[in-house]
């Protein structure tokens, strides 16, 4: 309780300082809009539906693309972990493409799919899939061999071994990789939305870009706040449960809370 209060006080003080800085008149209103204006913008955009609409558009793209990326990456990663040759070929390709910021796919995606949802999904998938492949591969390779041997003596083989031993045993790595994939997907989607217009719907990135077009920094900051909130929420909903499961089961890194 006390800690929450301290954190709250800190953020309130931060906003207070910000307001004071604006009032001091040292910065023009375009450079630094008052937090009140930001709140006003957020309120208005909430009421006229823009905020919810565009958040929904963005989230839909992100989730569909991400799930597709994971579903493609997971089996590929397991596959590459099984063979040295696949590791040297597909694995090397994944390693290379993972370093490519996936916003770089936008121009190709646009000529391949047009200014449509598919282009956005492609970009999100390119952000997710390589991280998932690499993490799954690495995870499956890092499993203490003793698990596999114990499972074998008990008669676990084939599919059973993969789904009941290899996959759960590599969970700690998987979650890390899936988190990274999420972070990259989120980043690439934002960049893509800011960069290009999509005929089928405007997302948060577009809203942010429009804030810039109007020189409306209150809108820019407002949308940034919404993006942060969605990011935190996603983390809380998508990954925290897994991480808590991992930490309680593996007994690792239990942070004093």
């Amino acid at each position: 309780m006390k800690r929450v209060a301290v954190a709250l006080a800190f953020f309130v003080a931060l906003i207070g300082l910000w307001e004071l800085a604006v009032r001091s008149g040292r910065w023009s209103a375009v450079l630094l809009p008052s937090p009140l204006y930001v709140a006003e913008y957020l309120w208005a955009a909430l009421l006229d539906g823009t905020l919810l609409e565009s958040a929904w558009v963005t989230l839909k793209r992100l989730l569909i693309g991400y799930v597709a990326g994971v579903l493609i990456g997971l089996p590929l990663g397991l596959l590459t972990s099984m063979s040295q040759t696949l590791e040297d070929t597909v694995g090397a390709m994944a390693l290379g493409l993972q370093t490519l910021p996936s916003v770089c796919w936008v121009p190709l995606a646009l000529v391949w799919f047009g200014q449509t949802e598919s282009a956005m999904l492609f970009v999100v998938i390119m952000g997710t899939v390589w991280s998932v492949i690499i993490a799954t591969d690495y995870g499956a390779r890092s499993i203490p061999p003793i698990y596999a041997r114990a499972a074998r003596t008990m008669g676990s083989e084939g599919m059973h071994k993969w789904t009941r031993v290899i996959l759960p045993a590599s969970l700690p790595f998987l979650v890390t990789g899936m988190k990274q994939g999420w972070a990259f997907a989120w980043r690439s989607l934002m960049a893509a939305e800011i960069y290009v217009t999509i005929l089928t719907g405007f997302g948060l990135g577009h809203l942010l870009h429009y804030g810039r077009e109007l020189n409306a920094m209150d809108q820019v900051i407002g949308v940034m706040i919404v993006i942060v909130l969605i990011g935190l929420l996603a983390d809380r909903l998508l990954f925290s449960p897994w991480e808590r499961f991992l930490h309680s089961r593996w007994g690792t890194n239990v942070k004093a809370s």
């Binding site: 217009t197 077009e213 020189n215």
Partner: protein
């Protein structure tokens, strides 16, 4: 050193667009060794040109003090003036009026705003003059339009994309500016539904700080601009050629002479500008929700 640079260099922005004809012609002259502006600004004053492809980023550049004077559309100027509560932006002269229009697909049956329910209308850029005009026109016709949607979808799309999307019928209408109006007509068979003959298209804007610090210099710049405009009006053929050359040489944009000539007929090139025109822009911007409150426009237009 910074003060020195400020007093001896004028940083001027413009778009690589036929509606910024004064800048194109001046730069074409410079390539021929005739320094139209610096000759008229006095000894030791240099002009540096910067190219932007969007009004808001030109305005950003003024806020960030990386630009002193720029050719820009009236709406970004108005918007930037309002956002900075009148502290940063001054309109010092007119440049080009007219040249923008709403083009619809041939035989689409689209005639009035209400027909656009559920349709896609492209504009060159979010919040620019044509974008606001399109939205205001739709809102005035009773449609609900938000930044990201509403009854009709206003779709900020770059001009080249507009053309291809219009050709492939993914767009129902386009509200844009020359030379694209002409290209949409000639290359995609588009029909003009609304034409804004007298609406301001391009103005000359100065940073308020630059203006108050270098009033004489700005004044000389504006009169050079007026003189140039006069020259263009008197030598349309040569001006068109110079503008085409400049687009070709500096921006690798190839424009057919007929296209330029056709666009020319829709543009009214003039150094005059009045506050009244901005008032109607403000009304439009307020209608479409791009502007909150009613900013005081008294300091916006300032002819030095």
């Amino acid at each position: 050193p910074r003060a020195m640079a400020q007093s001896t260099t004028v940083r001027v922005g413009h778009f690589p667009n036929i509606t910024h004809v004064q800048a194109l012609v001046a730069r074409a002259f410079e390539r021929q060794g005739r320094n139209w502006f610096s000759e008229r600004l006095g000894p030791g004053v240099k002009v540096e040109w910067y190219t932007y492809n969007a009004g808001p980023s030109a305005m950003e550049a003024i806020f960030a003090n990386s630009l002193d004077v720029t050719y820009v559309g009236p709406n970004p100027a108005l918007n930037a003036y309002a956002r900075s509560r009148g502290d940063e932006i001054r309109v010092v002269a007119g440049a080009v009026n007219g040249g923008s229009a709403l083009i619809v697909q041939p035989n689409s049956g689209l005639a009035k705003p209400a027909d656009f329910r559920g349709k896609r209308i492209a504009t060159p850029q979010f919040g620019n003059t044509q974008d606001v005009a399109a939205r205001a026109w739709l809102v005035a016709g009773g449609l609900r339009i938000t930044q990201t949607g509403g009854d009709a979808q206003v779709l900020p799309t770059s001009n080249p994309d507009q053309l291809s999307l219009f050709q492939s019928k993914q767009l129902d209408a386009v509200w844009t500016v020359e030379p694209w109006v002409s290209r949409l007509e000639s290359e995609a068979g588009g029909q003009i539904l609304v034409e804004e003959k007298n609406a301001i298209t391009t103005v000359l804007v100065s940073s308020a700080a630059f203006l108050s610090k270098n009033r004489d210099l700005t004044q000389r710049f504006v009169s050079a601009h007026r003189e140039l405009t006069e020259w263009i009006l008197q030598n349309p053929e040569e001006a068109q050629r110079l503008a085409r050359d400049e687009l070709q040489a500096s921006f690798r944009v190839d424009m057919a002479p007929e296209l330029v000539a056709r666009a020319w007929t829709r543009m009214i090139i003039t150094p005059e500008v009045t506050l009244d025109a901005f008032k109607s822009f403000m009304t439009s911007a307020q209608q479409v929700g791009f502007m909150r409150g009613a900013p005081d426009l008294s300091r916006l237009v300032e002819s030095p």
